[in-house]
């Protein structure tokens, strides 16, 4: 029997961050309806902290969805998370910068600050009864023992999944395999993989992570996303189908390709 793999579509969040791609509310809703009908496990619908316009679209998407979980993206910040509460999503996703580079030069904080802030943000959303997932931003360059200790506290707080984000697209299949296997040794929490195509390996790295035990894979339609893009849902499903069972399968996804292309571009 083939292993199960769950797909999260992030076209409406990371995909839209691609410069020159600006989706109207109608386009976002239209795409969400199609993604939901196709049976994606999760749709990352946007960033509520961006403002009322974004919240309104997310609310509309939640209103029309039939089967997919709708998640929203947050920085590790209670103000961001409060904005998410206004949308009442299925999943609140909190992105936590985890590499020393990001911690020291971007946040200008320390690892222990990150750990404390992450815990308090997660509890904040969990106390309101939300399902919470956490993304390890720049996990590819982070210290594995730090990631393991964060994962252990997240498991205690009953976070539903941890996403390994290869934020600048530098993982190779070998480094991805090691990262997934290492985290799997410390926890049985569901692991997700979020890749970028900077070195032309977004789909291969995602597939190798799934082969190594990651259960969730982030994809975008046509691979749209920052810089060279994200893991392309069409390419990934076609490549991974011999090994995995997932929704949507390649064939039904391809049948909607032309319609989705018209809607995005």
């Amino acid at each position: 029997m083939k292993k199960k793999c769950f797909l999260t579509d992030t076209t409406l969040r990371d995909g839209e961050q691609s410069p020159r791609l600006c989706l109207s509310p109608g386009q976002k809703k239209g795409l969400a309806v199609m993604l939901d009908q196709l049976g994606f496990y999760q749709i990352e619908a946007g960033i509520p902290a961006m403002g009322t316009f974004e919240k309104d679209i997310i609310l509309e998407i939640i209103d029309v969805r039939k089967q997919s979980k709708i998640s929203v993206w947050n920085r590790m910040d209670k103000t961001d998370i409060r904005h998410s509460f206004d949308c009442n999503p299925d999943v609140i996703h909190i992105s936590v910068p985890v590499s020393d580079g990001m911690i020291y030069t971007m946040l200008r904080q320390s690892r222990s600050w990150v750990s404390k802030t992450m815990n308090s943000c997660v509890s904040f959303a969990r106390e309101q009864g939300y399902e919470v997932s956490v993304g390890f931003q720049d996990a590819s360059r982070a210290d594995i023992s730090f990631l393991a200790s964060l994962t252990e506290s997240l498991q205690r707080m009953q976070v539903s999944s941890v996403r390994i984000a290869d934020t600048v697209g530098i993982l190779t299949p070998t480094t991805a395999r090691k990262l997934v296997c290492n985290l799997k040794e410390h926890t049985d929490i569901l692991l997700g993989i979020h890749t970028h195509n900077d070195l032309g390996m977004a789909e291969a790295v995602a597939l190798e992570a799934a082969k190594s035990g990651a259960e969730l894979v982030d994809v975008t339609l046509f691979g749209v996303g920052e810089r060279a893009g994200n893991c392309d849902s069409f390419v990934f499903t076609k490549a991974a189908e011999p090994l995995f069972d997932f929704f949507p399968a390649y064939q039904p996804l391809m049948e909607s390709e032309a319609k989705m292309r018209r809607l995005i571009f």
Binding site: E16, Q17, S18, P19, R20, C22, L23, S24, M50, G51, F53, R75, G101, M102, T105, M106, D138, T167, V168, G169, I170, T172, P173, T174, T175, H196, N197, D198, L199, G200, M201, E203, A204, V205, L207, E208, G223, E226, R227, A228, G229, D232, V235, F236, A239, P242, L243
Partner: protein
Amino acid sequence: MITITDATLNSSRISRADSDLVASFYQELLSLGVDRIMLTPEIHALLKGNYELSKAVIKQEMGEILISASGKLFLQDYVSVYQSLLLLPCELSFCTKNAGYAGTALTVEWIAAGGSSIVCSVMGEGGYAPLEEVLLALHGCGAPLKPLDFTRLKALGFLYEKLTGNTIPPHKPILGDRIFEVESGIHIDGILKNHRNYEPFPPELVGAKRLFSLGKFSGMNAVRQKLQELKLAYSDQETEALLCLIREKAMRDQRNVSDIELYLLLKEQREESSLEVTG
């Protein structure tokens, strides 16, 4: 040390291209610093009169065994396959044949498993792994590469377009024109603090430039940076109001806001609030 062979000029459709272009491409490969340049016999004959072809090789005359892998290999335990191949008492070079999404990965993994010789081509011409992706991936892993001048990749990309008539897509890894364009406020803020936060390598490494654009995802620091670039004086209060206008405009027009449009927005805002703008 890793031996890199480029096989772009081994493509039959390039054999029919203009001889000056082919010669320029050959020269650029020399400037980049690859170890060998694989040519079709036709191109070899074409260049022979004009160049010292010390790095040229014809596929049939390669001194080692060339392993050619399809994309199916990636679905298997390819590491074990590589390990058993690498135990063989003979010299091996590795390449992929129409391996699609897995071409770069399989090639990079061959080196990770202990292989030392690979064959690639610019933009994956002829079904090999894309040279530009493999080189930057190996560079990122700290693989033992001889010194290579990656800035030549841009010129190779340009000549590749001329030779094949293909256009390099704007988001193509390494060679795309828009891969260093950033709009997200979070990313611009991170890059300004340290470019490593949101870039896999500095754009200059591959002869490219970074471009900040303004739009729906812009933040305060992105607007401040843009105003500075345009040498426009501003206050924090003004910047905040301007950010709202930029985001509204981007969403209304469904595209980024250009520098001229930014200036007009600023002027409009100044007229409304009678704040001073100098520039």
